[in-house]
Every structure is written in structure tokens, then in C-alpha cells.
Amino acid sequence: MENRLKEIIESLIFISLEPLTLEKIKSVLTEFKQEEIEQAIKELLDTYVSNERGIQIIHSGGGLLFSTKPEHDSFIKRLLKIERKGKLSSAALETLSAIAYHQPITLAEISALRGVDSSSTLKTLLQKRLVKIVGRKKSPGNPLIYRTSEKFLTYFGLNTIKDLPSPEELSKILDEEDIPEEEDIAEQ
């Protein structure tokens, strides 16, 4: 029975296109005890760690998800005939960071933080579903306000937004950082 539960959970994670949360698993498997489910998940994850497998179950965006392993990247690119996966532009990353650390936030606030107009970058992020509109600010002009989305978490392999270092931790990282060589910056 226990093994069967493990199998069922594996098939559920497999079939879900988005990270499958523990709550969802529990709400599907009502005939099983919660502790049984949690135990089975733990065992399932252990199996994947110990066995030599080409795919893995990862924690991402608050749930469990199948993915390939990093070391097989080059073979997959060959199969799919993709040269490389596109990365976000530096402007997009900067805008995302501003949103992630200051959300909810308006476009004007993002632009002020970055010192550059951010409307076209914001549009890209909206279209990529990395950012979402969550309402309006109660201030003159009632501008739209934005937040990072669930896809943002999955894209960066975060489980929750709290996985990002706090602003204090960021400052600490900065203090420890060496002054970069000029060449490094020029190459960016």
C-alpha cells in the first residue's frame, strides 16, 4: 500500500504542468492519511536522490516538479536543436529585482529606482508572465501596481519569494564584495 501511494504521488507530480503543492496532493488523495502522504513524498524524493536517474524531482515555486539534470543540458539542446536558452536582458533582470524587493510597486517607482524609463522592459516581463498587475495604487492618477508572479519563482528556481536574500543580507553581500576590476564591468 505504501509503495502504491509513492507511485500515485509520482504520477501526480509527473502529470502536473506546474509545481505540485503538498496541499494539492493532499486534496487529491483524501483517502490517505496526511502523515502517510508526507512520508511517501519523503521516500519518493529519497529514491530519486539515490538512484541513477536522468530526471529529478525538484522543489520549485512552492511545489514539486520534474526536470532534467543540469549535466545533461548539452544533449537536450542537441535533441531540441536549440543553440542556447535565451536569458533575460540585464535591464529585465534589474527591473525584476526592483519589483521583487519593492513590491507592490508602480511603473514610476521602478523607473525612479533604476534611474531609467522602464516601461518597455516592464511590458516584456508582463508578456513573459514573470510580473503581474495586482491593482491600483491609491495615489494621484491611480497608477497600476505590479508584483512578481508564480512563474517568476519557478523561472529562478525559488520555492517562495522569501528564498531571496533580505535587503539586509544583500547589503552584507555588498560589503563583503571586492571592488571589481574595471575590465569586468566593461565586458558586461
Binding site: 509527473f14 502529470i15 504542468l17 506546474e18 529529478q56 525538484i58 516538479l65 520534474f66 526536470s67 532534467t68 539534470k69 543540469p70 549535466e71 543540458d73 537536450i76 536558452k85 536569458k87 533575460l88 540585464s90 535591464a91 533582470l93 534589474e94 525584476l96 529585482s97 526592483a98 521583487a100 524587493y101 529606482l113 533604476r114 534611474g115 531609467v116 524609463d117 508582463l126 508572465r129 503581474k132 498587475i133 495586482v134 508572479s149 519557478t154 523561472y155 529562478f156 528556481g157 525559488l158 531571496l164 536574500p165 535587503p167 544583500l170 547589503s171 553581500i173 555588498l174 564584495e177 571592488i179 571589481p180 574595471e182 564591468i185 566593461a186 558586461q188
Partner: protein, 244 residues
């Protein structure tokens, strides 16, 4: 580092004026909380002077910060009776902005690392094979999706270019007969094609209403293979035949 190498860093590599300022501060190993404003302003303007190919929008953003620097410098130069208190330091606004921006930069290099890690892991974007399941295209929608959907709808209508209203009158019954006659002669009717042939908005509207009536009366059937695909109208009798 001598002055000649300074200019090898092109302005375009900077995300914006704050990025440039931060770069200057780090390069000169200046304490961000105690910026020698005169030096930094001079350096900043030096970079700005080599603007060869920056576009006007960007230039304005760089100039805005230049103006702020010059303003702060002028404030610092004003004779004071007693030393400035911390919160009255005219540099404070700039320092706060730089600190905020610095954190954003740090966060974005962190996100870049995470992105690189994640891009090596491939996830499926398709629904895996199910044993007997109707896989339909259901999506989680956001406010943006909703707005975008409406926007696309309106754009589509705009493109369809409904023509000016003419005085001619169209009868619903006539149009229904016309559609049926068309369907008798042709296999099916392409919805968009048919309406784009309408001479006026009024004619299109009457045709449309006529079509709705025919659908309601179950004489014809309108099918769309999937979203955004052309809609085809068939006589019900013919549709049954093709199914058999």
C-alpha cells in the same frame, strides 16, 4: 589606472546614470556615505562628454542626474555657519538612491546566477501522455491576460476595417437566403472572408445576425478548430456527411 583607460568604458555598457555613478564611486574606492561631490561630478561629466551614440531618451536620463549632482555641489558650496547635520546633508538623497540601486544591482546579479542554474534544468512545456484524457488548452489567467485579450480583440476588429455605413438597407431574410445559397454551392463558408466582403458595417451586421439565426435554428453549424483559427460555417446536413 590612468586617464586614458578611463574612456575605454563606453557609456552604453551602463544600465543608466545610477549605474555609471556607482561605477565611478567603486573605481575611485570612495565611501558611498561620504561622496566627494566635486570629484564625482567632474568624473561623471567626463563620461557624459564622450556620448557618441546614446539616444535622446537615455541622454535625458543621464543629464537629469548630472543636474542633480551639480545642484548638490552648489548646495555644498554655500557658506554655512555651522557644520551640516547628517539629515541635512544635500548628498543624502543621492546616497539613498545609490544604496537602493546598489541593492538592486546585487539582487540582479544573484538572479542571473539562479537563472543560469535553472536554464540547465529542462522542464516540460507540454502535457505528458495520458491514458485516455481530453487534453484541453486551459490557462491560468491574470489581469494582464484579460486586458491583453481585450486589446487583441479590438485590434482584430480594427484590422478587419469595418467600412463606412451606407444608406442601403439589408433584410435579414434576404441575407439568410444568401448564406444558404452560398452553402449549397460551396462546401463551407469562411466566416471572416465572408464578412470582409460586406460593403458596410450594416451589411456585415445583418449577415452576422442572419448567420446567428441560422445557427440557432440548427440549419448551419459554425466550427472553429482552435482559438484564433478561422471559423467555418457548414450546412448541418453536410457536416453529418463528413463525420460519417
Amino acid at each position: 589606472m590612468d586617464a586614458s583607460t578611463d574612456y575605454q568604458v563606453k557609456l552604453e555598457v551602463f544600465q543608466g546614470p545610477l549605474d555609471l555613478l556607482l561605477f565611478l564611486i567603486r573605481k575611485k574606492k570612495i565611501d558611498i556615505h561620504d561622496i566627494p561631490i566635486a570629484t564625482v561630478t567632474r568624473e561623471y561629466l567626463k563620461y557624459l562628454n564622450q556620448k557618441e551614440r546614446i539616444n535622446l531618451d537615455r541622454e535625458a536620463e543621464f543629464l537629469l542626474i548630472a543636474a542633480l549632482l551639480i545642484y548638490i555641489k552648489s548646495q555644498m558650496l554655500l557658506p554655512r555657519e555651522k557644520p551640516l547635520e547628517d539629515e541635512k546633508d544635500p548628498r543624502q538623497i543621492l546616497v539613498n538612491r545609490l544604496l537602493d540601486y546598489q541593492r538592486i544591482k546585487a539582487a540582479s546579479s544573484l538572479l542571473r546566477e539562479k537563472e543560469e542554474e535553472e536554464l540547465l534544468k529542462w522542464k516540460r512545456s507540454f502535457l505528458p501522455h495520458l491514458l485516455q484524457e481530453d487534453a484541453m488548452d486551459y490557462i491560468e489567467i491574470s489581469l494582464f491576460d484579460l486586458g491583453e485579450s481585450f486589446f487583441v480583440l479590438m485590434k482584430k476588429k480594427e484590422r478587419e476595417g469595418i467600412k463606412t455605413i451606407k444608406g442601403k438597407e439589408y433584410s435579414l431574410e434576404e441575407k439568410m437566403k444568401e448564406i444558404l445559397a452560398f452553402l449549397e454551392a460551396n462546401e463551407f463558408l469562411d466566416f471572416l472572408d465572408y464578412f470582409s466582403q460586406a460593403e458596410s458595417f450594416e451589411e456585415a451586421l445583418v449577415s452576422f445576425l442572419g448567420l446567428l439565426e441560422l445557427i440557432k435554428a440548427r440549419i448551419v453549424i459554425a466550427l472553429q478548430e482552435s482559438h484564433f483559427q478561422p471559423i467555418k460555417v457548414w450546412l448541418r446536413r453536410k457536416e453529418r456527411l463528413t463525420n460519417n
